[in-house]
């Protein structure tokens, strides 16, 4: 049974009665009324402190103080809206930037691939040390798949371009060829239609983007005959919009097929010795639960060394290469993203320094208030906490605004550079990113609030109160803190500038040194014609307009010194 809390509102009256009674006693002892009153007060102690202590018996003091701090902070923000919005805006930009970049880092580097058991997926290839790129023969893949005990399953894939002709104009499409089991391994489900079956004749699965951009999102294309490089094919399924796997590309095609394939067709690899399977492929394998990457590496090296595939010189120089799939997909962007994250953290630190400076500028104006609080019994720790709480309030509001900002930033970044960074499309503000935003908000509150708060707590109460309202100058403490903040800011800014300068220098060097030819007078031109002159399925012929466009471009290129203003893709 816990006793009922007596009415605390009566406490004021009780204390007044007590003081009155004591004063009366003192008067009876012969004191003057005024002396009696002050003697009673002296004997009683600080009534405000007593009230607080009594409340503290019933209500945990921190709850009470928290409520008080919150009220004070809200009041302060309301009283100086311009200052508060400046601080909050500054923080919002800093936190928003950092959160957006972290959102990308989290999506690309931290979050596992959106493929089942992605941690067990490995990228398989053989590497030719002489020409310095991958060279993975289909037959080698077949041998690895059937003979390596560490592999639960494996699929091979390759990239190509092909001319696709449906009912409209022919287009050049990025095509991936994939072996059986690819869809199961990637855990994909078709958005429309189905995945290829063994008895399909040249089935195609198209990406959602291709479906929307080139096929006008028409569901009836399923089952309708189309041609791919002049051969009859059938679209059997459409992938969902979020199936973006960023299949690793071989290094020699980098840049060409960096974007996701637009369509997939089956790839058949027969288990026949060389030279039957001369396709150059890439592989994705799934490790068994017990297997390790190094174990698999040893197994496939042994298989290559055995040479049972019938592959002779010069292909006996190939080396087996096995890597975690995720590393292979995002590997190139890891360093860049970490640098970017580091850079925005420095920006955030500068933001904190800016806000700290603003708070310090306010400090001189607030010294009287703080001196007053101290003189009525506010301990330095209590005041420190209150000031920090104010900073925390700023940081929380700034953090919320920052998260809103990061939503916008992320969507812009996703649109502008979706092809530059793998997996960027997956970047969202999810629970982890929100947690990160909350953590940095709290951290910034300490970072920008602690210095000014400590400086203000060292206020010389007597000096400030004596100086009065006419002249409240900044104390030595706040001046020193201000200098410290400014020098820190300068150092961080220099760091950022130096980093940015170095980067700019690299870029300018890259552009300043010609790659051995004059890119201005070169043009990449590809002319496509559907189906090698064969009538396309819709009954039309090669569009004369298209042909004439290609000719026009060639003509424009003829005078060597005056290339067309822009390289055109035709």
């Amino acid at each position: 049974m816990s006793p009922r809390r007596p009415d605390l509102d009566g406490l004021d009256q009780e204390i007044r009665d007590h003081l009155d009674a004591e004063t009366q006693d003192n008067i009876l002892r012969g004191m003057s009324e005024e002396d009696a009153h002050y003697a009673a007060l002296r004997k009683f102690g600080n009534p405000a402190q007593v009230k607080e202590d009594v409340r503290g018996v019933w209500i945990p003091q921190w709850v009470d103080q928290l409520r008080q701090d919150l009220r004070d902070a809200a009041r302060r923000i309301k009283r100086q809206p311009a200052f508060a919005s400046l601080v909050i805006l500054t923080l919002a930009i800093g936190i928003g930037l950092t959160t957006a970049v972290y959102g990308v880092v989290h999506a690309v580097l931290v979050r596992p691939l959106s493929v089942p058991d992605s941690e067990r997926l490995v990228w398989l290839t053989a590497y030719d040390p002489v020409v310095d790129h991958e060279m993975f023969l289909g037959i080698d893949f077949v041998e690895w798949k059937t003979q390596a005990p560490s592999l639960e399953s494996a699929v091979a894939y390759g990239f190509s371009e092909a001319t696709f002709a449906g009912s409209g104009e022919a287009v050049r499409a990025r095509v991936a060829s994939v072996t059986d089991g690819f869809w199961e391994l990637m855990g994909a489900r078709p958005a429309i239609g189905r995945f290829p079956r063994a008895d399909d004749q040249r089935p195609l699965v198209v990406s959602h983007r291709f479906f929307v951009d080139r096929l006008a999102g028409d569901r009836h294309v399923i089952g309708r005959p189309v041609t791919l490089d002049g051969e009859q094919a059938t679209i059997v399924g459409v992938l969902p919009a979020d199936s973006l796997w960023r299949l690793p590309v071989p290094s020699w095609r980098f840049g060409l097929t960096r974007r996701d394939p637009e369509m997939f067709r089956p790839l058949m690899l027969q288990p026949k010795p060389y030279p039957a399977n001369q396709y150059n492929v890439l592989g994705i394998g799934k490790l068994t639960r017990e297997a390790t990457l190094s174990g698999l590496q040893a197994e496939v090296e042994a298989i290559l060394a055995r040479g049972t595939s019938g592959v002779g010189p010069p292909w006996d120089r190939l080396q087996a290469r096995v890597r975690p799939l995720q590393d292979q997909i995002v590997g190139g962007s890891r360093l860049a993203l970490r640098l970017l994250l580091g850079a925005v953290l420095v920006v955030l630190a500068i933001t904190c320094a800016n806000v700290a400076n603003l708070l310090l500028a306010r400090a001189s104006a607030r010294q009287r208030e703080i001196a007053l609080r101290m003189s009525v019994g506010g301990g330095p720790l209590r005041i420190l906490r209150q000031l920090l709480f104010e900073s925390m309030t700023f940081a929380v509001i700034g953090g919320v605004a920052g998260v809103a900002l990061s939503y916008g930033l992320l969507s812009v970044v996703k649109q502008v550079m979706s092809d530059a960074v793998p997996r960027l499309a997956e970047a969202t503000v999810d629970g982890y990113v929100l947690g990160f935003a909350a953590a940095i908000s709290v951290a910034t509150a300490f970072l920008f609030g602690l210095g000014p708060a400590v400086a203000m707590c060292r206020t010389d109460v007597q000096a400030v109160l004596k100086a009065g309202a006419r002249h409240a100058s900044a104390s030595r403490g706040t001046i020193r803190a201000g200098r410290l903040v400014v020098s820190l800011q300068l150092a961080l800014t220099l760091l950022l500038l130096a980093g940015a300068g170095l980067m700019l220098k690299s870029v300018s060097r890259m552009t300043a040194h010609p790659p051995g030819l004059h890119p201005r007078s070169c043009s990449r031109c590809a002319s496509i014609s559907p189906a090698r002159g064969i009538a396309n399925p819709s009954g039309g012929r090669t569009s004369p307009r298209r042909r004439s466009r290609a000719w026009a471009l060639s003509a424009a290129l003829a005078p060597w010194r005056s290339p067309p203003a822009a390289t055109r893709r035709c």
């Binding site: 049974m1 816990s2 006793p3 809390r5 007596p6 009566g10 406490l11 009780e14 204390i15 009665d17 007590h18 009674a21 004591e22 006693d25 004997k43 009683f44 102690g45 600080n46 009534p47 402190q49 007593v50 202590d53 009594v54 503290g56 018996v57 019933w58």
Partner: protein, 116 residues
């Protein structure tokens, strides 16, 4: 009235015991409790009167006393504090403890005089 130098600051926690003891004869309000403690100790014990109130509330919270509205000697409404049965029991426990402690300390202090 004793001079300031003769006064002793209360030991931590003894105020609670003194309040319980003061309330033993019957209910009292805050000021009369303070007066009683000062008077019966011949003004030796220096109690900051304000500290009485948090102590009273601590005792209420433990269930040893209760607060009741009443009328003071000069006919004003006042809060009166009264011992509960639990508080009475606690008083005897605390008194015994205090006696033991004081006795033990006294024995130690005085034994030194005898041996030297």
């Amino acid at each position: 009235m004793s001079t300031k130098d003769d006064r002793i600051e209360l030991l931590q926690g003894t105020l609670d015991l003194l309040i319980l003891r003061t309330l033993q004869p019957g209910p009292a309000h805050g000021h009369s409790i303070a007066k009683a403690i000062e008077r019966t100790s011949d003004d030796v014990l220096q109690v900051e009167q304000g500290s009485l109130y948090p102590a009273l509330h601590r005792l209420i919270k433990r269930g040893w006393i209760v607060a009741e509205d009443g009328t003071s000697e000069n006919n004003r409404r006042a809060k009166f504090y009264r011992l509960t049965p639990q508080g009475k029991k606690q008083l005897s426990v605390e008194t015994t403890k205090w006696d033991k402690l004081a006795g033990a300390i006294a024995r130690i202090l005085h034994s030194r005089e005898r041996t030297s």
